[in-house]
Amino acid sequence: MTRGVDLRLAACETCELVVQASDPLVGLCPRCGEPVRSRKHNARTRSWAFLSAAAVLYVPANTLVMMRTEQFPSHREDTILSGIAYLWSEGASSLALLVFTASIVIPLVKIGALGVLLVTTGQHSTWRPHGRTLLYRVLEVAGHWSMLDVFVVALLTAVVQLGRFANVEPGPAVLPFAGVVILTMLASSSFDPRAIWDRGAE
């Protein structure tokens, strides 16, 4: 297996052109003029920073109220979890599972898995590189699905304006929740999966 770093080759992230450059490889791509690097810039520091910010926001995102529903004469205040429980009790169990996966499981798995990736690459671990690369790929693909609940709340707010009969308002959890999604996306895009395969050579 020949690696780019051994041949002093790197692919431009923008236009995929493979160019020759020396390590640590900061040169300009002859085709598109963008900087080409063999590894993402400051990957670990940036990834840790975004990840810790996301982990902090995860707490208010899940404990604060996500949505207030007023339907005369009753009044409901739902966190993410109680909203899912409500869906479940209404008989929409498959949908409840879907929202549970997108809103609770994915953010939690993302934070945990990225933490594992950062710790193991920091130790130049040789533990299951294929599995860890796959894990990273899953994080990349699944990451933005957590935005689901933010969209639902915004839609319900827009549509349910039936005067004094029914009203839906977003709660204070919406902001930290959107923050968690965006920060975990930034954290995983900052992480450089090639570090999984760099066996302490650097």
Partner: protein, 201 residues
Amino acid sequence: MRELAICMYCDTVHERVELPARRAARCVNCQRPLYHSNTDLGAMLAVTITATVAFVIANLFPLITLTSGGFQTEATLWRAITASYVQDLPVVAVSLAVTLIGAPLFELGLLLWVLVPLCFGTRPLGFTRIMRLMHLLRPWRMVEVFLLGVVVAVVKLSGLAAAVPGWGLFGVAAMTLALASLASFDRGEMWRRADAIGATS
């Protein structure tokens, strides 16, 4: 020089090979996707136009119509954004505007800007800068998540009043499909085509 491709996930160097139709090249080491076989820019343009039409439908028509007693309200995409802005959640409004309107609108507009000249054999104006911008925007487009969001919202509403999905939802669904199909095209082909044109002109 032979054309090379380097895996962005594990840094393994590959020699580019011709692929059979509808296939993707995967890294021999980590099996992550390397590049796609579909280099038909004309087909790519057709799909982009489809996605643009779907985008217009998704924006113009209501996503959900709610009827209760004598009241009827409609949720359009735009209304969902302004409603969250009015509720003192400008950050949510902005993130909706970016992920649902801004990112897809820019991506489709830029793709049209690039693909139409390329299909006619001229180099698009500002080609490299546009390609860079497209590359940066792509992760922030969340149309497919929004599609699921509309479905969840309709189900949540069914206990409250008569909620009917509108034509806008079909627009969102069609756009999701078209955008997913756009992902199966080899974007490197746009660079190669532009390079070839640049060399002859």
